[in-house]
Protein backbone atom coordinates (compact mmCIF):
# COMPACT_ATOMS: atom_id res chain seq x y z
CA UNK A 1 0.00 0.00 0.00
CA UNK A 2 1.28 3.43 -0.88
CA UNK A 3 0.66 6.62 1.06
CA UNK A 4 -1.05 8.19 -1.87
CA UNK A 5 -4.61 7.66 -0.71
CA UNK A 6 -7.75 9.48 -1.64
CA UNK A 7 -11.36 9.06 -0.63
CA UNK A 8 -14.21 9.01 -3.10
CA UNK A 9 -17.45 9.76 -1.31
CA UNK A 10 -20.91 8.79 -2.40
CA UNK A 11 -19.62 6.37 -4.97
CA UNK A 12 -21.92 3.76 -6.40
CA UNK A 13 -21.54 0.02 -6.19
CA UNK A 14 -22.61 -1.75 -9.37
CA UNK A 15 -22.36 -5.31 -8.24
CA UNK A 16 -26.07 -5.95 -7.87
CA UNK A 17 -29.28 -4.19 -8.80
CA UNK A 18 -29.46 -2.33 -5.50
CA UNK A 19 -26.82 0.04 -6.90
CA UNK A 20 -26.14 1.56 -3.49
CA UNK A 21 -24.71 5.05 -3.94
CA UNK A 22 -23.33 5.62 -0.46
CA UNK A 23 -19.94 4.00 -0.85
CA UNK A 24 -17.01 5.82 0.63
CA UNK A 25 -14.05 4.39 -1.17
CA UNK A 26 -10.50 4.69 0.02
CA UNK A 27 -8.30 4.51 -3.04
CA UNK A 28 -4.64 3.74 -3.21
CA UNK A 29 -3.91 5.95 -6.17
CA UNK A 30 -0.48 4.55 -6.97
CA UNK A 31 -1.46 0.93 -6.62
CA UNK A 32 -4.71 1.39 -8.54
CA UNK A 33 -6.60 -0.33 -5.80
CA UNK A 34 -9.52 0.32 -3.55
CA UNK A 35 -8.37 -0.50 -0.06
CA UNK A 36 -11.56 0.18 1.78
CA UNK A 37 -15.19 0.33 0.78
CA UNK A 38 -17.16 1.83 3.62
CA UNK A 39 -20.87 0.89 3.65
CA UNK A 40 -20.36 -1.88 1.12
CA UNK A 41 -21.92 -5.30 1.73
CA UNK A 42 -19.94 -8.50 1.42
CA UNK A 43 -20.52 -8.62 -2.34
CA UNK A 44 -19.68 -4.98 -2.78
CA UNK A 45 -16.52 -5.30 -0.76
CA UNK A 46 -15.36 -8.15 -2.98
CA UNK A 47 -16.31 -6.17 -6.07
CA UNK A 48 -14.27 -3.16 -5.03
CA UNK A 49 -11.42 -5.22 -3.68
CA UNK A 50 -10.98 -7.38 -6.75
CA UNK A 51 -11.23 -4.77 -9.48
CA UNK A 52 -7.72 -3.51 -9.61
CA UNK A 53 -5.79 -3.13 -12.80
CA UNK A 54 -4.54 -6.51 -13.94
CA UNK A 55 -1.74 -6.91 -16.41
CA UNK A 56 -3.74 -8.13 -19.35
CA UNK A 57 -3.33 -7.56 -23.06
CA UNK A 58 -5.46 -4.79 -24.51
CA UNK A 59 -6.80 -7.27 -26.96
CA UNK A 60 -6.37 -10.84 -28.04
CA UNK A 61 -7.04 -11.94 -31.59
CA UNK A 62 -7.20 -15.71 -31.89
CA UNK A 63 -5.33 -15.82 -28.61
CA UNK A 64 -2.54 -13.54 -29.78
CA UNK A 65 -1.89 -10.20 -28.17
CA UNK A 66 -2.99 -7.24 -30.21
CA UNK A 67 -3.72 -3.56 -29.90
CA UNK A 68 -7.19 -2.27 -29.25
CA UNK A 69 -7.12 -0.76 -32.74
CA UNK A 70 -6.30 -4.08 -34.37
CA UNK A 71 -9.06 -5.70 -32.34
CA UNK A 72 -11.51 -3.05 -33.48
CA UNK A 73 -10.62 -3.65 -37.12
CA UNK A 74 -11.03 -7.40 -36.79
CA UNK A 75 -14.28 -7.03 -34.86
CA UNK A 76 -15.71 -4.58 -37.40
CA UNK A 77 -14.83 -6.90 -40.26
CA UNK A 78 -16.50 -9.84 -38.56
CA UNK A 79 -19.63 -7.88 -37.80
CA UNK A 80 -19.91 -6.20 -41.19
CA UNK A 81 -19.67 -9.60 -42.87
CA UNK A 82 -22.19 -11.32 -40.66
CA UNK A 83 -25.71 -12.00 -41.80
CA UNK A 84 -27.04 -12.71 -38.34
CA UNK A 85 -24.78 -11.03 -35.79
CA UNK A 86 -25.89 -11.38 -32.19
CA UNK A 87 -25.00 -8.70 -29.64
CA UNK A 88 -25.43 -9.81 -26.06
CA UNK A 89 -24.64 -8.93 -22.46
CA UNK A 90 -24.62 -5.25 -21.48
CA UNK A 91 -25.91 -5.53 -17.94
CA UNK A 92 -22.51 -4.77 -16.41
CA UNK A 93 -21.72 -1.66 -18.32
CA UNK A 94 -22.93 1.92 -18.54
CA UNK A 95 -25.99 3.17 -20.35
CA UNK A 96 -23.65 5.14 -22.54
CA UNK A 97 -22.11 1.88 -23.77
CA UNK A 98 -25.51 0.21 -24.04
CA UNK A 99 -26.72 3.06 -26.20
CA UNK A 100 -23.86 2.59 -28.65
CA UNK A 101 -24.42 -1.16 -28.72
CA UNK A 102 -28.06 -0.76 -29.71
CA UNK A 103 -27.02 1.71 -32.38
CA UNK A 104 -24.49 -0.79 -33.69
CA UNK A 105 -27.12 -3.52 -33.83
CA UNK A 106 -29.43 -1.17 -35.73
CA UNK A 107 -26.70 -0.18 -38.16
CA UNK A 108 -25.79 -3.83 -38.81
CA UNK A 109 -29.31 -5.16 -39.02
CA UNK A 110 -28.34 -7.49 -36.22
CA UNK A 111 -29.96 -8.75 -33.07
CA UNK A 112 -29.43 -7.31 -29.61
CA UNK A 113 -30.27 -8.95 -26.34
CA UNK A 114 -29.24 -8.38 -22.76
CA UNK A 115 -28.83 -10.62 -19.77
CA UNK A 116 -32.37 -9.64 -18.90
CA UNK A 117 -33.54 -12.46 -21.11
CA UNK A 118 -32.03 -15.02 -18.73
CA UNK A 119 -32.80 -13.04 -15.57
CA UNK A 120 -36.08 -11.19 -15.27
CA UNK A 121 -36.92 -11.38 -18.97
CA UNK A 122 -39.96 -13.45 -18.07
CA UNK A 123 -41.00 -10.68 -15.70
CA UNK A 124 -40.66 -8.29 -18.61
CA UNK A 125 -42.95 -10.50 -20.65
CA UNK A 126 -45.33 -10.63 -17.71
CA UNK A 127 -45.25 -6.85 -17.48
CA UNK A 128 -46.22 -6.61 -21.13
CA UNK A 129 -49.18 -8.82 -20.41
CA UNK A 130 -50.63 -7.36 -17.25
CA UNK A 131 -48.73 -4.20 -16.36
CA UNK A 132 -47.33 -3.64 -12.90
CA UNK A 133 -47.84 -1.58 -9.81
CA UNK A 134 -44.40 -0.55 -8.74
CA UNK A 135 -42.48 2.00 -6.71
CA UNK A 136 -39.07 3.43 -6.17
CA UNK A 137 -37.26 1.80 -3.26
CA UNK A 138 -37.71 4.87 -1.07
CA UNK A 139 -41.45 4.27 -0.99
CA UNK A 140 -40.77 0.88 0.55
CA UNK A 141 -38.52 2.49 3.09
CA UNK A 142 -41.01 5.25 3.90
CA UNK A 143 -44.31 3.47 3.68
CA UNK A 144 -44.26 -0.31 3.33
CA UNK A 145 -45.65 -1.96 6.44
CA UNK A 146 -45.86 -5.38 4.79
CA UNK A 147 -43.24 -6.83 2.49
CA UNK A 148 -43.38 -10.22 0.86
CA UNK A 149 -40.17 -11.66 -0.58
CA UNK A 150 -40.89 -14.39 -3.06
CA UNK A 151 -38.51 -16.79 -4.74
CA UNK A 152 -35.34 -14.98 -3.88
CA UNK A 153 -32.54 -14.93 -1.40
CA UNK A 154 -31.69 -11.27 -0.89
CA UNK A 155 -29.49 -11.93 2.11
CA UNK A 156 -27.03 -13.56 -0.25
CA UNK A 157 -27.77 -11.95 -3.61
CA UNK A 158 -28.83 -8.40 -2.60
CA UNK A 159 -27.67 -8.04 1.00
CA UNK A 160 -28.52 -4.38 1.48
CA UNK A 161 -32.04 -4.78 0.19
CA UNK A 162 -32.87 -5.67 3.79
CA UNK A 163 -30.81 -3.03 5.54
CA UNK A 164 -30.97 0.00 3.27
CA UNK A 165 -34.29 -0.19 1.49
CA UNK A 166 -36.89 -2.61 2.62
CA UNK A 167 -36.76 -4.38 5.98
CA UNK A 168 -34.94 -2.55 8.74
CA UNK A 169 -34.70 1.11 7.68
CA UNK A 170 -36.89 3.71 9.32
CA UNK A 171 -38.97 5.82 7.02
CA UNK A 172 -41.45 8.67 7.07
CA UNK A 173 -44.43 6.53 7.99
CA UNK A 174 -42.38 3.66 9.38
CA UNK A 175 -40.84 5.43 12.37
CA UNK A 176 -39.77 2.26 14.15
CA UNK A 177 -38.26 0.51 11.17
CA UNK A 178 -38.34 -3.26 11.38
CA UNK A 179 -40.92 -3.24 14.18
CA UNK A 180 -43.44 -1.47 12.01
CA UNK A 181 -43.29 -4.05 9.27
CA UNK A 182 -44.54 -7.55 8.66
CA UNK A 183 -42.02 -9.48 6.62
CA UNK A 184 -43.05 -12.60 4.76
CA UNK A 185 -40.70 -14.86 2.86
CA UNK A 186 -41.86 -17.45 0.37
CA UNK A 187 -39.40 -19.99 -0.95
CA UNK A 188 -38.92 -23.65 -1.61
CA UNK A 189 -36.08 -23.93 0.88
CA UNK A 190 -34.65 -22.20 3.90
CA UNK A 191 -31.90 -19.78 3.00
CA UNK A 192 -29.84 -17.15 4.69
CA UNK A 193 -32.78 -14.81 4.12
CA UNK A 194 -35.29 -16.89 6.06
CA UNK A 195 -34.42 -15.59 9.53
CA UNK A 196 -35.32 -12.06 8.42
CA UNK A 197 -38.97 -13.03 8.03
CA UNK A 198 -41.85 -12.94 10.48
CA UNK A 199 -43.62 -15.52 8.40
CA UNK A 200 -41.87 -18.13 6.30
CA UNK A 201 -44.02 -19.93 3.77
CA UNK A 202 -42.31 -22.97 2.34
CA UNK A 203 -43.84 -24.04 -0.94
CA UNK A 204 -43.18 -27.27 -2.73
CA UNK A 205 -40.87 -26.83 -5.70
CA UNK A 206 -42.68 -25.80 -8.87
CA UNK A 207 -45.87 -24.86 -7.12
CA UNK A 208 -45.41 -21.08 -6.83
CA UNK A 209 -47.91 -20.51 -9.57
CA UNK A 210 -50.57 -22.56 -7.82
CA UNK A 211 -49.99 -20.69 -4.57
CA UNK A 212 -50.14 -17.30 -6.27
CA UNK A 213 -53.23 -18.31 -8.16
CA UNK A 214 -54.92 -19.45 -4.99
CA UNK A 215 -54.05 -16.14 -3.34
CA UNK A 216 -55.55 -14.26 -6.26
CA UNK A 217 -58.72 -16.28 -5.95
CA UNK A 218 -58.92 -15.62 -2.21
CA UNK A 219 -58.31 -11.90 -2.67
CA UNK A 220 -61.23 -11.86 -5.09
CA UNK A 221 -63.41 -13.71 -2.63
CA UNK A 222 -63.49 -16.96 -4.59
CA UNK A 223 -63.31 -20.41 -3.08
CA UNK A 224 -60.15 -22.46 -3.03
CA UNK A 225 -60.22 -26.16 -2.36
CA UNK A 226 -58.32 -27.34 0.73
CA UNK A 227 -56.45 -29.76 -1.53
CA UNK A 228 -54.19 -26.80 -2.18
CA UNK A 229 -52.11 -28.00 0.77
CA UNK A 230 -51.43 -31.38 -0.82
CA UNK A 231 -50.45 -29.65 -4.05
CA UNK A 232 -48.29 -26.89 -2.71
CA UNK A 233 -47.40 -27.72 0.84
CA UNK A 234 -49.20 -24.59 2.04
CA UNK A 235 -52.47 -24.91 3.91
CA UNK A 236 -55.56 -22.98 3.03
CA UNK A 237 -55.49 -21.46 6.52
CA UNK A 238 -52.03 -20.02 5.93
CA UNK A 239 -53.16 -18.56 2.62
CA UNK A 240 -56.29 -17.07 4.14
CA UNK A 241 -54.26 -15.52 6.92
CA UNK A 242 -51.86 -14.05 4.38
CA UNK A 243 -54.68 -12.56 2.37
CA UNK A 244 -56.24 -11.03 5.47
CA UNK A 245 -52.93 -9.41 6.37
CA UNK A 246 -52.39 -8.23 2.83
CA UNK A 247 -55.75 -6.50 2.74
CA UNK A 248 -55.22 -5.00 6.16
CA UNK A 249 -51.85 -3.35 5.63
CA UNK A 250 -51.49 0.24 4.48
CA UNK A 251 -48.79 -0.21 1.89
CA UNK A 252 -47.67 -3.61 0.78
CA UNK A 253 -44.84 -4.66 -1.47
CA UNK A 254 -43.78 -7.84 -3.20
CA UNK A 255 -40.13 -8.28 -4.03
CA UNK A 256 -39.64 -11.31 -6.20
CA UNK A 257 -36.67 -13.15 -7.54
CA UNK A 258 -35.67 -15.67 -10.08
CA UNK A 259 -37.24 -18.46 -8.12
CA UNK A 260 -40.23 -17.43 -10.19
CA UNK A 261 -38.68 -16.60 -13.54
CA UNK A 262 -36.22 -19.45 -13.95
CA UNK A 263 -38.75 -22.00 -12.91
CA UNK A 264 -41.33 -23.96 -14.83
CA UNK A 265 -44.03 -21.40 -15.51
CA UNK A 266 -41.53 -18.60 -16.08
CA UNK A 267 -43.38 -15.42 -17.12
CA UNK A 268 -46.67 -16.78 -15.88
CA UNK A 269 -45.24 -17.02 -12.40
CA UNK A 270 -44.21 -13.38 -12.57
CA UNK A 271 -47.51 -12.40 -14.15
CA UNK A 272 -49.41 -14.16 -11.37
CA UNK A 273 -47.54 -12.15 -8.80
CA UNK A 274 -47.95 -8.86 -10.66
CA UNK A 275 -51.65 -9.57 -11.07
CA UNK A 276 -51.97 -10.40 -7.38
CA UNK A 277 -50.49 -7.00 -6.51
CA UNK A 278 -52.90 -5.35 -8.95
CA UNK A 279 -55.86 -7.23 -7.49
CA UNK A 280 -54.92 -6.11 -3.99
CA UNK A 281 -55.11 -2.46 -5.00
CA UNK A 282 -58.83 -2.73 -4.83
CA UNK A 283 -58.39 -2.93 -1.06
CA UNK A 284 -55.22 -1.06 -0.22
CA UNK A 285 -51.97 0.08 -1.80
CA UNK A 286 -49.72 -2.67 -3.15
CA UNK A 287 -46.69 -2.67 -5.37
CA UNK A 288 -44.50 -5.42 -6.80
CA UNK A 289 -40.92 -5.32 -7.94
CA UNK A 290 -38.66 -7.82 -9.56
CA UNK A 291 -35.37 -7.84 -7.69
CA UNK A 292 -32.90 -7.30 -10.49
CA UNK A 293 -29.48 -8.83 -10.63
CA UNK A 294 -26.52 -7.23 -12.28
CA UNK A 295 -25.58 -3.65 -11.61
CA UNK A 296 -27.06 -2.03 -14.67
CA UNK A 297 -29.36 -4.63 -16.12
CA UNK A 298 -32.21 -2.22 -15.48
CA UNK A 299 -30.37 0.41 -17.49
CA UNK A 300 -30.09 -2.05 -20.33
CA UNK A 301 -33.84 -2.59 -20.25
CA UNK A 302 -34.42 1.14 -20.30
CA UNK A 303 -31.97 1.96 -23.07
CA UNK A 304 -33.11 -0.85 -25.33
CA UNK A 305 -36.72 0.11 -24.66
CA UNK A 306 -36.44 3.78 -25.40
CA UNK A 307 -34.40 3.16 -28.52
CA UNK A 308 -36.51 0.34 -29.93
CA UNK A 309 -39.78 0.14 -28.02
CA UNK A 310 -38.89 -3.31 -26.67
CA UNK A 311 -36.87 -4.26 -23.61
CA UNK A 312 -34.66 -7.11 -24.85
CA UNK A 313 -34.38 -9.66 -27.62
CA UNK A 314 -34.65 -7.14 -30.46
CA UNK A 315 -33.88 -7.96 -34.07
CA UNK A 316 -33.15 -5.32 -36.73
CA UNK A 317 -32.68 -7.51 -39.78
CA UNK A 318 -35.63 -6.05 -41.64
CA UNK A 319 -34.66 -2.46 -40.97
CA UNK A 320 -36.75 -1.86 -37.89
CA UNK A 321 -36.91 -3.30 -34.40
CA UNK A 322 -38.75 -6.54 -33.85
CA UNK A 323 -39.28 -8.26 -30.55
CA UNK A 324 -39.99 -11.88 -30.00
CA UNK A 325 -38.63 -13.78 -27.02
CA UNK A 326 -37.77 -17.30 -28.08
CA UNK A 327 -36.97 -16.10 -31.57
CA UNK A 328 -34.54 -13.25 -31.00
CA UNK A 329 -33.30 -14.03 -27.50
CA UNK A 330 -29.72 -15.19 -27.17
CA UNK A 331 -30.14 -18.67 -25.77
CA UNK A 332 -32.50 -19.51 -28.61
CA UNK A 333 -30.51 -17.85 -31.36
CA UNK A 334 -27.42 -19.75 -30.24
CA UNK A 335 -29.01 -23.07 -29.35
CA UNK A 336 -30.77 -23.16 -32.72
CA UNK A 337 -27.54 -22.20 -34.46
CA UNK A 338 -29.03 -19.09 -36.09
CA UNK A 339 -26.25 -16.60 -35.34
CA UNK A 340 -23.15 -16.42 -37.50
CA UNK A 341 -21.22 -14.04 -35.24
CA UNK A 342 -21.53 -12.79 -31.69
CA UNK A 343 -20.46 -9.68 -29.82
CA UNK A 344 -20.55 -10.23 -26.07
CA UNK A 345 -20.25 -7.23 -23.79
CA UNK A 346 -19.56 -7.63 -20.08
CA UNK A 347 -21.10 -11.04 -19.77
CA UNK A 348 -19.98 -14.63 -19.65
CA UNK A 349 -22.53 -16.83 -21.37
CA UNK A 350 -20.00 -19.66 -21.71
CA UNK A 351 -20.19 -20.16 -17.97
CA UNK A 352 -23.93 -20.15 -17.47
CA UNK A 353 -25.81 -20.75 -20.70
CA UNK A 354 -27.29 -24.13 -21.53
CA UNK A 355 -24.91 -26.51 -23.17
CA UNK A 356 -26.29 -26.32 -26.76
CA UNK A 357 -25.91 -22.54 -26.76
CA UNK A 358 -22.33 -22.76 -25.59
CA UNK A 359 -21.60 -25.35 -28.27
CA UNK A 360 -22.70 -22.92 -30.98
CA UNK A 361 -20.60 -20.10 -29.50
CA UNK A 362 -17.63 -22.34 -30.11
CA UNK A 363 -18.53 -22.62 -33.79
CA UNK A 364 -18.83 -18.93 -34.72
CA UNK A 365 -16.57 -15.88 -34.47
CA UNK A 366 -17.08 -14.28 -31.08
CA UNK A 367 -16.01 -10.83 -29.93
CA UNK A 368 -15.82 -10.19 -26.20
CA UNK A 369 -15.47 -7.01 -24.14
CA UNK A 370 -14.71 -7.70 -20.50
CA UNK A 371 -12.42 -6.36 -17.79
CA UNK A 372 -11.64 -9.93 -16.77
CA UNK A 373 -10.74 -13.13 -18.54
CA UNK A 374 -13.74 -15.44 -18.67
CA UNK A 375 -14.70 -18.73 -20.22
CA UNK A 376 -16.31 -16.72 -22.99
CA UNK A 377 -13.27 -14.55 -23.62
CA UNK A 378 -11.24 -17.75 -23.86
CA UNK A 379 -13.25 -18.99 -26.81
CA UNK A 380 -13.42 -15.56 -28.50
CA UNK A 381 -11.88 -14.66 -31.84
CA UNK A 382 -11.39 -11.12 -30.52
CA UNK A 383 -11.20 -10.40 -26.79
CA UNK A 384 -10.91 -6.81 -25.56
CA UNK A 385 -9.86 -5.87 -22.08
CA UNK A 386 -11.96 -2.93 -20.97
CA UNK A 387 -12.10 -0.69 -17.96
CA UNK A 388 -14.58 -1.46 -15.21
CA UNK A 389 -17.64 0.72 -14.93
CA UNK A 390 -18.09 2.46 -11.63
CA UNK A 391 -14.50 1.78 -10.67
CA UNK A 392 -12.61 3.23 -13.61
CA UNK A 393 -15.35 4.67 -15.76
CA UNK A 394 -18.14 7.09 -15.13
CA UNK A 395 -21.51 6.89 -16.78
CA UNK A 396 -25.09 6.20 -15.95
CA UNK A 397 -26.59 3.19 -14.27
CA UNK A 398 -30.17 2.40 -13.30
CA UNK A 399 -31.09 0.94 -10.00
CA UNK A 400 -33.54 -1.96 -9.99
CA UNK A 401 -36.33 0.61 -9.44
CA UNK A 402 -35.43 2.56 -12.60
CA UNK A 403 -33.73 5.38 -10.68
CA UNK A 404 -30.75 6.60 -12.70
CA UNK A 405 -27.45 7.44 -11.04
CA UNK A 406 -24.14 8.85 -12.22
CA UNK A 407 -21.06 6.83 -11.37
CA UNK A 408 -18.07 8.28 -9.53
CA UNK A 409 -15.07 6.26 -10.60
CA UNK A 410 -12.26 5.66 -8.12
CA UNK A 411 -9.20 5.59 -10.32
CA UNK A 412 -8.39 5.59 -14.03
CA UNK A 413 -7.67 2.51 -16.06
CA UNK A 414 -5.25 2.17 -18.93
CA UNK A 415 -7.89 0.19 -20.75
CA UNK A 416 -10.59 1.82 -22.83
CA UNK A 417 -14.18 1.76 -21.68
CA UNK A 418 -16.80 -0.45 -23.28
CA UNK A 419 -18.32 2.70 -24.71
CA UNK A 420 -15.06 3.67 -26.35
CA UNK A 421 -14.44 0.26 -27.89
CA UNK A 422 -18.02 -0.05 -29.09
CA UNK A 423 -17.93 3.45 -30.55
CA UNK A 424 -14.74 2.63 -32.43
CA UNK A 425 -16.25 -0.60 -33.77
CA UNK A 426 -19.43 1.22 -34.78
CA UNK A 427 -17.53 3.98 -36.55
CA UNK A 428 -15.47 1.44 -38.45
CA UNK A 429 -18.54 -0.60 -39.37
CA UNK A 430 -20.17 2.56 -40.63
CA UNK A 431 -17.26 3.07 -42.98
CA UNK A 432 -17.32 -0.55 -44.11
CA UNK A 433 -21.06 -0.44 -44.80
CA UNK A 434 -21.22 3.14 -46.08
CA UNK A 435 -23.64 4.24 -43.38
CA UNK A 436 -26.47 2.25 -41.87
CA UNK A 437 -27.17 -0.96 -43.73
CA UNK A 438 -30.26 -0.36 -45.84
CA UNK A 439 -33.27 -2.37 -44.75
CA UNK A 440 -33.46 -5.86 -46.16
CA UNK A 441 -37.22 -6.09 -46.08
CA UNK A 442 -40.14 -3.77 -46.29
CA UNK A 443 -42.14 -2.70 -43.28
CA UNK A 444 -45.27 -4.73 -42.57
CA UNK A 445 -47.34 -1.70 -43.40
CA UNK A 446 -46.52 1.92 -44.08
CA UNK A 447 -46.56 4.02 -40.93
CA UNK A 448 -50.04 5.48 -40.74
CA UNK A 449 -50.46 9.20 -41.03
CA UNK A 450 -52.96 9.16 -38.21
CA UNK A 451 -51.90 6.30 -36.05
CA UNK A 452 -54.87 6.71 -33.80
CA UNK A 453 -57.57 7.02 -36.38
Amino acid sequence: MSDNLKVVENATCTFCGCVCDDMNLTVDVDEHRITKAENACILGKAWFREHGIEQRPFALIDGHEATTEAGVEEAAQILARARFPMIYGLSDTTCEAQRVAVGLADMLGGTIDTTTSVCHGPSGIAFQGVGESTASLGELKNRADMIVFWGGNPAEAHPRLFSRYAVTPKGMYIPNGRKDRTIVLVDVRRTASTPAADIFVQVKPRSDFEVLWALRALVKGRKVDPSIERRTGVSLAVLEDLVARMKRCNYGAFLFGMGLTMNRGRHFNSAALLALATDLNQFTHWVAKPVRGHGNVTGADNVVSWQTGFPFGVNFSRGYPRFNPGEFTTVDVLARGDADAALIIASDPASNFPKPAIEHLKRIPVIVLDPKATLTSRLARVAFTTATYGINVTGTVYRMDDVALTLRPAFPSPYPSDEQVLTAIRDRVRVLLGGNRLPAGAAPIAPAVAAAS
Binding site: F15, C16, I42, L43, A46, R49, E50, H51, D113, S117, V118, G121, P122, I125, N153, A155, E156, A157, P159, V188, R189, R190, T191, A192, Q202, P205, R206, M258, G259, T261, M262, N263, R264, R266, H267, G293, F312, P325, G326, E327, T329, V331, D332, L334, A335, R336, D348, A350, S351, N352, F353, P354, K355, P356, A357, I358, K372, A373, T374, L375
Partner: protein, 119 residues
Protein backbone atom coordinates in the same frame (compact mmCIF):
# COMPACT_ATOMS: atom_id res chain seq x y z
CA UNK B 1 -29.86 -47.36 -9.73
CA UNK B 2 -29.98 -43.59 -10.16
CA UNK B 3 -32.63 -41.71 -8.19
CA UNK B 4 -34.68 -38.80 -9.51
CA UNK B 5 -34.31 -35.54 -7.59
CA UNK B 6 -35.11 -31.88 -8.19
CA UNK B 7 -32.19 -29.56 -8.76
CA UNK B 8 -32.48 -25.88 -7.92
CA UNK B 9 -29.90 -23.60 -9.43
CA UNK B 10 -29.25 -20.25 -7.79
CA UNK B 11 -26.85 -17.63 -6.65
CA UNK B 12 -24.98 -17.44 -3.39
CA UNK B 13 -22.95 -14.66 -1.93
CA UNK B 14 -19.90 -16.91 -2.01
CA UNK B 15 -20.39 -17.51 -5.68
CA UNK B 16 -20.84 -13.77 -6.09
CA UNK B 17 -17.68 -12.79 -4.27
CA UNK B 18 -15.64 -15.48 -5.95
CA UNK B 19 -17.08 -14.51 -9.32
CA UNK B 20 -15.81 -11.01 -8.79
CA UNK B 21 -12.42 -12.44 -8.16
CA UNK B 22 -12.41 -14.20 -11.49
CA UNK B 23 -14.20 -17.04 -13.14
CA UNK B 24 -11.14 -18.94 -14.10
CA UNK B 25 -10.12 -19.05 -10.47
CA UNK B 26 -10.22 -22.03 -8.13
CA UNK B 27 -12.63 -20.61 -5.59
CA UNK B 28 -15.33 -19.90 -8.14
CA UNK B 29 -14.94 -23.33 -9.68
CA UNK B 30 -15.05 -24.89 -6.23
CA UNK B 31 -18.27 -23.09 -5.34
CA UNK B 32 -19.94 -23.90 -8.63
CA UNK B 33 -19.03 -27.57 -8.53
CA UNK B 34 -20.47 -28.36 -5.13
CA UNK B 35 -24.05 -29.52 -4.86
CA UNK B 36 -26.01 -29.23 -1.63
CA UNK B 37 -28.06 -32.26 -0.71
CA UNK B 38 -30.37 -33.31 2.07
CA UNK B 39 -28.39 -35.19 4.73
CA UNK B 40 -30.90 -38.02 4.92
CA UNK B 41 -30.76 -38.51 1.18
CA UNK B 42 -26.98 -38.55 1.40
CA UNK B 43 -27.00 -41.12 4.14
CA UNK B 44 -29.33 -43.34 2.16
CA UNK B 45 -27.11 -43.09 -0.90
CA UNK B 46 -24.02 -43.71 1.20
CA UNK B 47 -22.65 -40.23 0.55
CA UNK B 48 -20.56 -38.10 2.87
CA UNK B 49 -19.57 -34.46 2.65
CA UNK B 50 -17.14 -34.25 -0.22
CA UNK B 51 -18.34 -37.44 -1.88
CA UNK B 52 -18.90 -37.26 -5.58
CA UNK B 53 -22.21 -37.61 -7.37
CA UNK B 54 -23.13 -37.65 -10.99
CA UNK B 55 -26.19 -35.61 -12.03
CA UNK B 56 -27.79 -36.34 -15.36
CA UNK B 57 -30.50 -34.71 -17.46
CA UNK B 58 -31.50 -35.47 -21.03
CA UNK B 59 -29.18 -32.62 -22.00
CA UNK B 60 -26.01 -33.70 -20.29
CA UNK B 61 -24.30 -34.69 -17.08
CA UNK B 62 -21.99 -33.29 -14.46
CA UNK B 63 -19.97 -34.77 -11.63
CA UNK B 64 -20.10 -32.69 -8.45
CA UNK B 65 -18.99 -32.81 -4.86
CA UNK B 66 -21.79 -32.94 -2.36
CA UNK B 67 -22.39 -31.12 0.83
CA UNK B 68 -25.08 -31.99 3.36
CA UNK B 69 -27.90 -29.74 4.54
CA UNK B 70 -30.40 -30.47 7.30
CA UNK B 71 -33.97 -31.33 6.32
CA UNK B 72 -35.39 -28.11 7.73
CA UNK B 73 -33.13 -26.15 5.38
CA UNK B 74 -33.28 -28.38 2.33
CA UNK B 75 -36.12 -30.89 2.01
CA UNK B 76 -35.47 -34.43 0.90
CA UNK B 77 -35.27 -34.87 -2.84
CA UNK B 78 -34.08 -31.31 -3.44
CA UNK B 79 -30.59 -30.33 -4.57
CA UNK B 80 -29.05 -26.87 -4.71
CA UNK B 81 -26.23 -25.86 -7.03
CA UNK B 82 -24.73 -22.41 -7.60
CA UNK B 83 -24.80 -21.34 -11.24
CA UNK B 84 -21.66 -22.01 -13.17
CA UNK B 85 -20.14 -24.11 -15.92
CA UNK B 86 -21.38 -27.36 -14.43
CA UNK B 87 -25.00 -26.31 -13.97
CA UNK B 88 -24.88 -25.29 -17.66
CA UNK B 89 -24.16 -28.85 -18.64
CA UNK B 90 -27.53 -29.93 -17.31
CA UNK B 91 -29.69 -27.23 -18.92
CA UNK B 92 -31.63 -27.57 -22.15
CA UNK B 93 -31.61 -24.86 -24.79
CA UNK B 94 -35.35 -24.76 -25.35
CA UNK B 95 -36.90 -21.65 -23.83
CA UNK B 96 -40.50 -22.24 -24.89
CA UNK B 97 -40.80 -18.89 -26.60
CA UNK B 98 -39.55 -16.90 -23.63
CA UNK B 99 -35.78 -16.62 -23.98
CA UNK B 100 -35.36 -18.18 -20.56
CA UNK B 101 -33.95 -21.67 -20.21
CA UNK B 102 -35.08 -23.62 -17.16
CA UNK B 103 -32.41 -23.71 -14.52
CA UNK B 104 -34.46 -24.17 -11.38
CA UNK B 105 -36.25 -27.35 -10.44
CA UNK B 106 -34.70 -29.53 -13.06
CA UNK B 107 -35.49 -33.20 -12.85
CA UNK B 108 -32.12 -34.88 -12.49
CA UNK B 109 -30.89 -38.41 -12.07
CA UNK B 110 -28.56 -38.67 -9.11
CA UNK B 111 -25.97 -41.39 -8.94
CA UNK B 112 -23.08 -41.73 -6.49
CA UNK B 113 -19.68 -41.88 -8.11
CA UNK B 114 -17.35 -44.42 -6.48
CA UNK B 115 -14.25 -42.69 -5.17
CA UNK B 116 -11.85 -44.59 -7.37
CA UNK B 117 -13.71 -43.41 -10.45
CA UNK B 118 -12.77 -39.80 -9.82
CA UNK B 119 -9.80 -38.15 -11.46
Amino acid sequence: MPEMMTLIGGRTSKQGTSLTHGKLDGEYLEVTSTVEMNVEDMARLGLKNGSRVKLRTPEGEAVLKCKGRETKDLPRGILFLAYGPLSSQLMAGDTAGTGMPISKNLDVEVEPVPDQAGP
